[in-house]
Symmetry: C2
Subunit: 146 residues, 2 copies
């Protein structure tokens, strides 16, 4: 998983005439290992632990770069917290977001996607992308008091 990602990045860099660096590879590996939905500062904290020399500016820059390379996606959730999501090769998915513990559950629903296309067509709208987020309480948090 990490290996494929690192290759994808270096391919992208080579194609763009950009340079491969140790920092970029290390940040990418930590990003992949971190799982999905990390904020820039979370990622920076993890990177700093493993590589104290790397500055936050490089983390921010690399995250943007990963987005361009198709390895990450920027997400602006309604809770005001921006996060980057590792873009796995498996298709599009949407999110259930717990407003209490901030857990994120992913789901796919083909039927909803179809209906979105219908809506777009009705409005003479050409779809490029979409987002569907459902906010609420996850199973665990429903049980907890308060």
């Amino acid at each position: 998983m990490r290996k494929a990602a690192v290759k994808q990045l270096s391919d992208y860099l080579a194609g763009q005439g950009l340079r491969s660096t140790n920092q970029r590879d290390e940040i990418l590996k930590i990003f992949v290992d971190a799982g999905k939905h990390v904020s820039a500062e979370e990622l920076y904290a993890r990177v700093k632990k493993a590589h104290p020399g790397i500055g936050f500016a490089t983390v921010y820059r690399t995250l943007k770069l990963l987005a361009e390379a198709g390895l990450a996606e920027e997400r602006h959730f309604e809770d005001g917290f921006n996060r980057y999501e590792y873009r796995a090769t498996d298709g599009h998915h949407d999110h259930l977001i717990c407003t209490k513990c901030r857990a994120i559950i992913e789901f796919e629903n083909e039927r909803i996607e179809q209906l979105q296309q219908d809506v777009a067509r009705k409005n003479h709208f050409k779809v490029q992308s979409h987002r569907l987020e459902i906010y609420g309480l996850c199973a665990a948090c429903q049980g907890r008091k308060k």
Copy 2:
């Protein structure tokens, strides 16, 4: 429309032990007239034109207040532009957003809402709210070159 909104605000303020002020009423009226989806700075520009004395801090504060009073909703769209939306009494709706001219088209789709509930149920998730945004090109922008 403006009148009802102003009443709703003063009711809320009274209920909370807060005070009605001219500034709040004027900002609210301009907010309502501005139609949907204004950014804080857009609104401030309009307010300043009509009432040069009102500062931007008051506009920001009032917008937050309107959100608490249920008159406005904060929206963090994926394009990075935050906007406030006047919450009309007619039910929930979602958005088609043109990535070119930034036009926003609203729509409702009962069927999609139902499917969301299904997804939530399957994940033992208790829905509080949701958002569905479809990004793409509006009819007008599809025609325009580049």
